[in-house]
Subunit: 223 residues, 2 copies
């Protein structure tokens, strides 16, 4: 015997979260309603945090009947997931645009430029990004967020390699693997935990330099 309750498979003791929407809105008013729900979710996320969010609060904040919410979303998780997906699409678009622009620029400026674009894209949604990354417990179970940084960085590396042949790693796969996590972390950290007393321009300059050295630098030999 096996049964579910609220996304938790009691038998296997494993969470199986249903992210999908119940149905898609087709008319204008229902689209507006869904949008209002996601907006309310976003506002509640940054004001009261993920834990405190309830479907009833979201419906109330959105000025929508709780019944209407359940017409489209089966649970709280799907609501937050839909919001994340919506925002991620926007951010990814901006980052990809930034990369295309960066590739037009001379090699010395490209990395710095792209880093700034990525930080900008996240900074516009600073509070939401912070809450989503640090408080949403099922984030890693979402396909999109799991693969996004990897995809982006791989694309970036192909582009970079095509542009010039400076980059020579001892173990290329391992280098790409590490650089992916390191650059993502540095950018996100800049946005959600900016340091006191260090100007943004300097942070970007230094980050670009660190990455560039990691990718192209040569360590002075002692002898």
């Amino acid at each position: 015997m096996s049964w579910d309750y609220r996304g938790i498979d009691v038998t296997k003791n494993t969470q199986v979260i249903d992210f999908s929407m119940r149905k898609q809105p087709v008319q204008q008013r229902s689209k507006a309603l869904v949008a209002a729900l996601l907006d309310a979710t976003a506002r509640l996320l940054v004001t009261i945090g993920y834990i405190a969010i309830t479907t009833n609060k979201v419906a109330e904040k959105a000025g929508v009947g709780i019944g209407s919410l359940y017409e489209y979303f089966p649970n709280k998780e799907s609501l937050v997931a839909a919001l994340i997906e919506r925002n991620s699409m926007e951010i990814v678009k901006e980052i990809q645009l930034g990369m295309e622009q960066a590739l037009q620029k001379p090699h010395e400026e490209a990395l710095r430029f792209w880093l700034e674009k990525m930080v900008d894209a996240l900074d516009e949604r600073r509070d939401e990004v912070r809450v989503v990354i640090f408080e949403v417990p099922f984030l890693r179970q979402m396909p999109l967020l799991e693969t996004m940084p990897k995809t982006l960085m791989n694309v970036a590396f192909s582009a970079h390699k095509r542009a010039n042949d400076r980059v020579q790693f001892t173990y290329p796969k391992a280098a790409v693997y590490h650089l992916t996590s390191m650059v993502s972390a540095a950018i996100i950290n800049m946005v959600v935990h900016p340091p006191q007393h260090i100007p943004r321009e300097i942070l970007l300059d230094e980050l670009a330099e660190l990455i560039l050295r990691a990718m192209e630098g040569e360590v002075k030999t002692t002898g």
Copy 2:
């Protein structure tokens, strides 16, 4: 008027979580009881995940009355927080020991050695680390976890600087800030999301090389 419910200040709509234990166990049996509760919390964390944990489940798994649990812990959060604190202490100790050993070694080996020790320390508690980092929503509100990586890295840098004068950053504060987040992320990523088909030794070699280059490397000038 202001009131609380389950750690959530309804007026301010802000979470204020009570992490502190209600009282410290003094006799042997009560110490054992608290230890059993934390052990059960750990096992439940990795088997059913943070969301699904309840105080009642923890008490049952620990073979302890629910009433006894509430003698020492006011809520689910304080239970998980105490577990995190216990584990963090152990990990920090191992990492500090590793650094002391690393400082005995020649400069060329020290970083690689220390990285390996850190990865080892986390790897021993792989599952718990993963769940805690990705699923515990209040992690960033814990003083310990917030400051730990920074402290460690600052200590490491002082030591490294004392040992030799190779490291010359354009903006030292910014460099330390970025390297902290990047190295932490790389190590944690190695533990919780190890890549397929790349041996651990190679990952460590490459990571050490990347960091060393970022810290000491010189970019080849074009002209």
